[in-house]
Amino acid sequence: MAKRFGVIAAAILAVLMVFAASAQTNAKSDNTEPQLAWPTLPADQRQVLAPLEKDWMTLPGIQQKRLIAAATRYPKMRPIQQERFQERLKEWAALSPEQRNAARETYKDLSRLPPAKQDELRKRWQEKQVQTPPPPASN
């Protein structure tokens, strides 16, 4: 019986070590991700990410990889989603890493709410935009 527990404990320990090592590898890859030159991207990805062509090499490697990962979902998006993706891409890339992380966290918080509550908060925000006058245009 003791031998069997030993085998189970060893197996669990091995799995935990593998998970810990992979987590460490993932954390490290944040800073060491190499940049990808625009011409090396496949044609379909270049087409989806076209709004970023000029600024592509100003983006860190990790951000490039994430944008490519997002772009791979593009063919499965509905037309309205594809339109939004293209419109927002440049704005998204222009944000600082901290702003992008903050936006992701807020998005995750919203997604965790029940659908009815999500709708309520979306409407509330949209109504606030209608009521708030736009900032004066700067010359």
Binding site: V7, A11, A14, V15, V18, F19, A21, S22, T25, N26, S29, I62, K65, R66, L67, I68, A69, A70, A71, T72, R73, Y74, M77, Q81, Q82, R84, F85, R88, L89, E91, W92, L95, Q99, R100, A102, A103, R104, T106, Y107, K108, D109, L110, S111, L113, K117, L121, R122, R124, W125, Q126, K128
Partner: protein, 123 residues
Amino acid sequence: MNEKDFAAKVARTLNWGLTRIDDDKLAGLRTARAKAMEAYREPITIAGLVTISGPSPSTKYDLIQKPLIWLPMLALIAMLAGANWFKDPNADIGDLDAALLTGELPINAFLDKDLDSWLKGSE
């Protein structure tokens, strides 16, 4: 001879054979029956779909059988660990970014302090 008579004759002939079994053979048959009854377990039906009728709990597995039980479990654990090892961490964030870029609300909504405070108030 009708069918009923024939069946009765067959039964008589078979029963006659029973009285002529040697004592040692009879003892052997009794022992075998007792062993079989001991090993027998009532089949268990789960959710009316699966019927389990396994060996008795006292079954001992030999050295060859033991790895056959553990190997599939270890293989499954190794597969899960391997999948996590090779998983691209950017793919998950890519999914999240794609959802954020295509959602109903614009990006600046998710940087708006009001939305953030409403969310915190909803928790």
